[in-house]
């Protein structure tokens, strides 16, 4: 096996392990953490009592000083 051939082989296998491994790890971690348990609640975590659901948070600047 020539050096470039070995490199291609190593990178291909390494990529499989890296990308596949990361995906498996991330999925198993999120299941363990209960990330998928209450998605309704999850979708509302970007709101809070100061910027609640129903409140628009962007507008064109006014012309007043």
């Amino acid at each position: 096996m020539t050096r470039p051939d070995f490199l291609i082989f190593a990178i291909t296998v390494g990529s499989l392990v890296f990308f596949g491994g990361m995906a498996v790890l991330a999925l198993s971690w999120s299941v363990r953490e209960g990330q998928f348990r209450n998605l309704e609640h999850g979708s509302q975590t970007i709101f809070d009592p100061d910027e609640p659901i129903g409140e628009v948070t962007d507008r064109f600047p006014s012309n007043e000083e």
Partner: protein, 476 residues
């Protein structure tokens, strides 16, 4: 916690990101203007070849990779990194860690892009599309990117919000994928070039993944935060958004080989890529459905919110460009559209119509919250939007129609090549007009950003930021 304490917490978190995010954004805008000027020069040369033809460094072969690399690594990547550095602490409800280190990483990244651009002007290109920067540049960019990835995950680790919002999945995914994809690509294409078609396969695997595993997750992830946040309405189907993320993670990296349809690659490899491209309908449908259904009943807000206007335009362009991309991967379609201006229009709809417009929208939301200074002029924001929107639409329509006809003419062996070239000229002129409009839009935004950063003009606070953050901090 009272409403005020939430406002204080949010203001403190935003403040922790101020310096690095503004440095990444300011640099991005410099490269946007620079890259747009190179783009316009390249576009004019397509129908007026003698334009700037006297200088070697300004010929098409030089200026085109300069445009590509400055808008991908300068503008898009830097705008994306600035946005994700603001998003991660907000969604993790914690301070950004090592902000000074992130400013340092922005300086290093700028040095890399600047050195690469000077190298390209001097003719030191690798000749590999999307990786043209000279061989001394990738280690600089990789080093800066690894700092960003490290700080992103270190911030995430300190999170006070237990739930990982879908945007976080996307941006953290991008931070893992991009360094790996970049290092693998430069290794097999530049430092230890793989023999034969493996190099071409790696090249297009990389080029497509820059879009799919780097810019797309940042753009889509940002839209998943900005649209519901601006409207004050949760995403239509959060479940679908999670499915969409995992489907993207699973299928996008397959898609690159559709650039090599008809090339001397093993058929199974190209076929697998075509299948992966078609499977992308799943995450794209999930995103399209979610963005559209969240907006239903709220389209009137587009009149009042600059952020929403840009992000929704970007989200719609994402749907169009992604469906188009999947169809372009079909062999029967590809044989006509590939190697024509059709592909160029598709690429620009993705990088400008989708990604850049989402980034503009994000910046309109983020910057006033960091500088505590209102945007200088609603009129200039409108000018920016309409120049960019009409510019990219004209560009897309002209090159799509012209490119398709060009492809059909190429199928007929009796039509001389020069006839195709002559035929495309009016469409190329239309492209230059569209490009000029986009340049005007970009310059307008750069002016607005500079005015805001330097706090020039009358003091304006209120409408954009809604609650002056530091006032909230002081009240506490």
């Amino acid at each position: 916690m009272s409403a005020d304490s939430f406002a204080v917490e949010r203001a403190r978190i935003d403040a922790s990101t101020r310096l690095p995010v503004l440095v990444w954004f300011a640099s991005a805008l410099f490269w946007l203007v620079f890259g747009s000027l190179a783009a316009l020069a390249a576009s004019l040369k397509m129908h007026t070849p003698e334009f700037l033809g006297a200088s070697q460094a300004l010929t098409f072969g030089f200026i085109r990779p300069i445009h590509l690399n400055t808008v991908v690594y300068g503008w898009s990547s830097m705008a994306g990194i600035g946005t994700l550095l603001w998003l991660i602490p907000r969604l993790a409800r914690t301070m950004l860690v090592f902000p000074k280190l992130l400013v340092f990483s922005a300086i290093v990244w700028n040095i890399g892009v600047l050195a690469g651009t000077v190298g390209l002007f001097l003719g030191m290109t690798t000749g590999i599309e999307w990786l043209e920067f000279p061989p001394f540049v990738p280690p600089i960019l990789t080093f800066a990117l690894l700092i960003v990835t490290f700080c992103g995950f270190a911030t995430f680790r300190q999170r006070n919000e237990r739930h990982v919002y879908v945007t976080l999945w996307y941006v953290l995914g991008a931070l893992v994928w991009m360094p790996a994809v970049y290092v693998i690509a430069v290794t097999l294409c530049v430092y230890q070039p793989a023999p034969g078609v493996v190099q071409a396969a790696t090249n297009w695997w990389f080029a497509h993944n820059v879009l799919g595993l780097w810019l797309t997750p940042i753009g889509v992830g940002a839209a998943y935060y900005i649209i519901p946040k601006v409207l004050g309405r949760p995403i239509y189907s959060y479940y679908l958004s999670i499915v969409g993320f995992w489907a993207l993670a699973l299928f996008y990296s397959w898609a690159g080989m559709h650039h090599l349809i008809g090339g001397p690659l093993p058929t199974w490899l190209v076929s697998a890529s075509v299948v992966g491209s078609i499977m992308m309908f799943i995450p794209v449908l999930a995103v399209a459905l979610n963005h559209h259904m969240t907006m239903v009943g709220n389209f009137h807000h587009l009149r009042y919110s600059p952020t929403l206007r840009f992000v929704v335009f970007g989200a719609m362009a994402y749907t169009v460009v992604s469906f188009q991309g999947s169809i372009e991967a079909l062999r029967s379609f590809n044989v006509i559209s590939h190697f024509t201006h059709y592909t160029i229009s598709h690429a620009h709809l993705g990088l400008y119509g989708f990604f850049s417009m989402v980034m503009f929208g994000c910046m309109y939301y983020i910057v006033p919250r960091l500088t505590e200074w209102e945007w200088a002029s609603a009129g200039l924001i409108r000018l920016h939007f309409w120049c960019s929107a009409i510019g990219i639409t004209l560009y897309f329509v002209a090159l799509t129609v012209g490119g398709w006809h060009q492809g059909m003419m190429a199928q007929d062996a009796s039509i001389a090549h020069i006839s195709q070239v002559e035929f495309t000229k009016p469409y190329l002129w239309a492209r230059s007009v569209g490009g000029t409009l986009m340049l005007i839009g970009n310059l307008t935004f750069a002016l607005l950003f500079t005015l805001n950063l330097m706090k020039l003009g009358k003091r304006r606070v209120g409408e954009t930021t809604f609650r002056t953050p530091m006032k909230a901090v002081r009240v506490s």
